[in-house]
Symmetry: C2
Subunit: 185 residues, 2 copies
Amino acid sequence: MRVMGVDPGLTRCGLSVVEGGSGRQVTALDVDVVRTPADQSLPQRLLTISDVAEHWLDTHRPDVVAVERVFAQQNVSTVMGTAQAGGVIALQAAKRGIEVHFHTPSEVKAAVTGNGSADKAQVTTMITRILGLQQKPTPADAADALALAICHCWRAPMIARMAAAEALAAEQQRKYAARLKAARA
Amino acid sequence: MRVMGVDPGLTRCGLSVVEGGSGRQVTALDVDVVRTPADQSLPQRLLTISDVAEHWLDTHRPDVVAVERVFAQQNVSTVMGTAQAGGVIALQAAKRGIEVHFHTPSEVKAAVTGNGSADKAQVTTMITRILGLQQKPTPADAADALALAICHCWRAPMIARMAAAEALAAEQQRKYAARLKAARA
């Protein structure tokens, strides 16, 4: 499974592509950070991010896009820019029929370090070790984008099991309702 | 000048097209509300909004897109969805080289009613009167999208004057700096 990881942001947007193999085997195929200048207009910044994301989606053809779920911990204008950057990338994935999954920062940290409140340095150290990289990925946005993709590779079997269980439960619910209706008739 | 007004939102996104003539003359060309179901995924909802916006941009070919500037007064998840809906529309405008301007809700209310804290009913009543409509536009998102477009038509000369004044000031600053440098040499 090929996963494109996205650490969304207007000023710096981290992008990665990771190939997940059997078990916990993961290989980094690409990682980069898109930067857009703060003195550009919002539409222009979103266009730059969207154009790069489109290029990545069309070149790397990921099976899934994993995006960091944004919360409003930081200041509001930053959160909105982050949500918008993530939104345009989710849009471009949806246009291509590519699944998009969102993971919270603590899910990502827990997946790669075993600790949901690990700091940035710990995440970077673990990412470097997991992927067998020669150097630590910088800046933090690049490491975060890799962490997101790895997190998705490792959580994907669980997400699939949960989706299957939910589908089964819904199916049983339907059958039960039908039987109940027949019994009442 | 043809202005496309956007009252962004995930659940309901108001779109309008208004033609501004000389003075305060304005004509409504189109108005509608795009709805996306809450049980759809975020990427799918953004795709629906983006597709409709693309169709409007290509059919109506507006000179400018006027979008409501989002603030974090409401709950955070609503604000993020609103920012994302506005973001994908701004992106599609930028792709076509169409200018995007943002107006705050109080700027819009002040422009159409003369009162920056007018309520929704007052805005709708004024919009109906200004555009000479037979019926009040509903829902509120449709009226808001019309109000945004009218607001831009009426503020455009002032925005242009401000931009010209800023350009002039920057030019004088450059000349002054050059003369100062020459005098010191």
